[in-house]
Amino acid sequence: MRNSTTARRCLAATAATITIGALAACSGGGNEPASTSAGTDTAAALTTITVWDPYPQYDDTSVWAGYVKACAPSGITVERTSSATSDLLNSLTTAVKEGNAPDVVILDNPAVPEAASSGLLAPADEVGMDTTGFDANLAGPGTVDGVSYGVPIGANTLGLYYNKDILDAAGVDPASITSWSTLNDALAKVTAAGHSGITFAGISGEEGVFQFQPWFWGAKADLSDLGSANAIAAGQLVSDWIGKGYAPKSALTDNQSASWDLFLTGDYAFAENGSWFAKAASELTDFTAVAMALPGKDGGAAPVPTGGEFVLAPLQKNDAAAHYANAATLVNCLVGKDNQVKTADALGYFAANADQRATQIASDPIWKPWASAIEAARGRTTDLGAGYTAASAALSTALQGALNAAGDSAGVESAFKAAAGS
């Protein structure tokens, strides 16, 4: 009896100790790094470079993975982690807070101003990145309040693909499509001939906004004034496509891959989609797909948004110098003059430096229609900086409202007016 009580007391005391230990471990919260782990961090920083990228489609055996790993100097290994574009900024936020951010992060360009102004990124100067020699329109999102944080790893943009077989059969000359009205005429013709019209991605969020921007900017609308007549005109254009049956109603929920799949069925005459599909389009066997510039409202090419990611060095709380040195090594390898085209090719992008890009475009005729588009492309965050995120959210809501209105002009107008007021 006596013994069993002692045993029970011991057990109780042990359990209590474990509890207290566990609580202490929790309440530490990881805000202050323990001195012991700081020592191991230094050692780790010297032998591994951690990279986060938004390309989960490339697994460890992919060309991209091998390419990044090959960038490591001898004796150092690259540890690459991929997650979805929409998750990366949140993961980075937590990592910087906890003091264990990766050495290099590759972020979608419209997210850069918000990341920088939230204090997640280290200035390029401090890291030792070379930020010169990139086209101003492509490098724009990397500079926030006069401080440069990183460089574009490559660039992409949007164009208008057409199914040449359908256009030929319907008697539409693609060269005649130079404005919204000529595009609408072409859509009327192909649908009258029994084909479907155009696919695009109107999905809620940044992806749908990205696809809408060529029309929005093509109408000379401004992101800081969503209620303007020009903005409403752009909304009316895509809304009418739904209303007249030129575009599928599923555009409301389609992302760019889904809308591309619709185009691949061969039913659709046109598709608004990205330069990253140019290679796949050139290899189609069922029909001939050709890319051209997206038309502006009153003629000429519409300003297209720049797509693509930036390579950046997150802010480090411990051993900053060692981490930044790692980051600089990797970044200068990925986007150094000799490697820009190789990096861009590995991702299906264009090099962000004009001279490098000229070489790249000259090497393959499929890039030709894109050359001028990339040069004329506009940075999404150029006008508003970190305020872009909120403006994009409002524009997304307006776009969804316009698509739902299915051509009803009162509905389109109220959607854009409401978004302007929000």
Partner: protein, 324 residues
């Protein structure tokens, strides 16, 4: 955020039950903190630690976040200013708040009514064994076994307004194609998908409840001349009440916190926005707005928690009344 709710429920229900036990035994012998109490505490410690670390701590952080104004920047630095109930007031004043509450109520109530009704009907149907009834019953579990990403994508696909199979089918009867996932109809569409998803759960629990009703009751009643409807109303329903109560409570909590199926089908656009999807989109900057709103999301999370808690108390009250 929403997934915290059922845990919270379990905690509250558990403590409620324990309090009752304590007062009953405490009346008989005097309270003294002797060695055996220490041992008791020791045995309790693992559970307490588990509850504290995995339930109480996240809940407290959630509530605390709703009282501090967090942005991405202050989240990183950790010095979000304390603003009291300001953010609650702001969330209540948002134009989408009351519509979202109403949509959540419709989603939950309509889902529950149909899930329970159809589940009960099927359970009663399967009560009498017939050839292949086991196989057929198994087939009804399919929605439960499929990953939600698969079933939700399939629903989205079937509900395609231009070429979806649902509209093709309706077309056979001369019905005009329905734009299932537009702003106006999306609540109805996600509710239909969610009902389909919830039927197996109701079927399984109610069926097992039916197994516990002694057959002699039915036989005796039949001899007394009761018809099938009378048997159902006077035997099945009353004896199934405890099982029904827990089915409905769990169904309520599960439905209240549903994010996945709605998100995959519509991303919470239009009328399909519920409190849970709204909290998710604000907490992670998903959907239309990539602006992260930790504090506002915590407010909505806390509201969900309170609703779930209230339902927990309702359940306990119902249970007590039945015991009497």
């Amino acid at each position: 955020m929403g997934s915290v709710a059922p845990g919270a429920m379990a905690v509250s229900a558990g403590t409620g039950a324990r309090t009752r036990g304590d007062t009953a035994s405490g009346a008989r012998r005097p309270r003294r903190f002797g060695p055996s109490s220490w041992a008791a505490l020791g045995f309790l410690a693992p559970l307490l630690a588990y509850l504290l670390v995995l339930y109480v701590y996240p809940l407290v952080v959630n509530v605390s976040m709703s009282l501090h104004r967090f942005t991405r920047a202050t989240f990183v630095t950790g010095d979000a200013p304390f603003v009291g109930f300001d953010i609650y007031r702001e969330v209540f004043a948002m134009p989408q708040f009351w519509p979202t509450v109403r949509q959540t109520a419709v989603f939950v109530v309509v889902s529950l009514v149909f899930q329970y009704g159809i589940g009960l009907a099927l359970a009663v149907f399967f009560r009498r064994n017939f050839p292949l009834s086991g196989v057929l019953r198994g087939l009804f579990l399919v929605p439960w076994l499929l990953p939600i990403i698969v079933s939700a994508t399939t629903w989205q696909w079937m509900m395609d307004p231009d070429s979806g199979i649902l509209n093709r089918f309706l077309g056979l009867f001369g019905v005009d194609p329905v734009w299932w996932l537009n702003a106006h109809n999306s609540l109805m569409s996600v509710t239909i998908a969610n009902i389909w998803l919830g039927i197996p759960f109701n079927l399984v629990i109610l069926y097992s409840g039916l197994q516990n009703i002694p057959t002699d009751l039915y036989e005796a009643a039949s001899i007394d001349g009761a018809g099938p409807w009378r048997l159902f109303r006077s035997i099945t329903m009353p004896l199934l009440r405890p099982v029904s109560a827990i089915t409905l409570l769990l169904g309520f909590v599960y439905t209240l916190k549903v994010v996945d199926i709605i998100w995959i089908m519509t991303m919470g656009t239009g009328s399909s926005q519920t409190l849970a999807t709204w909290a998710y989109s604000m907490a992670f900057g998903k959907g239309a707005s990539a602006v992260i709103r930790y504090s506002e999301a915590s407010v909505v999370g806390t509201i969900l928690l309170v609703i779930a808690l209230v339902m927990g108390f309702v359940y306990i009250a119902v249970q007590r009344r039945q015991e009497r």
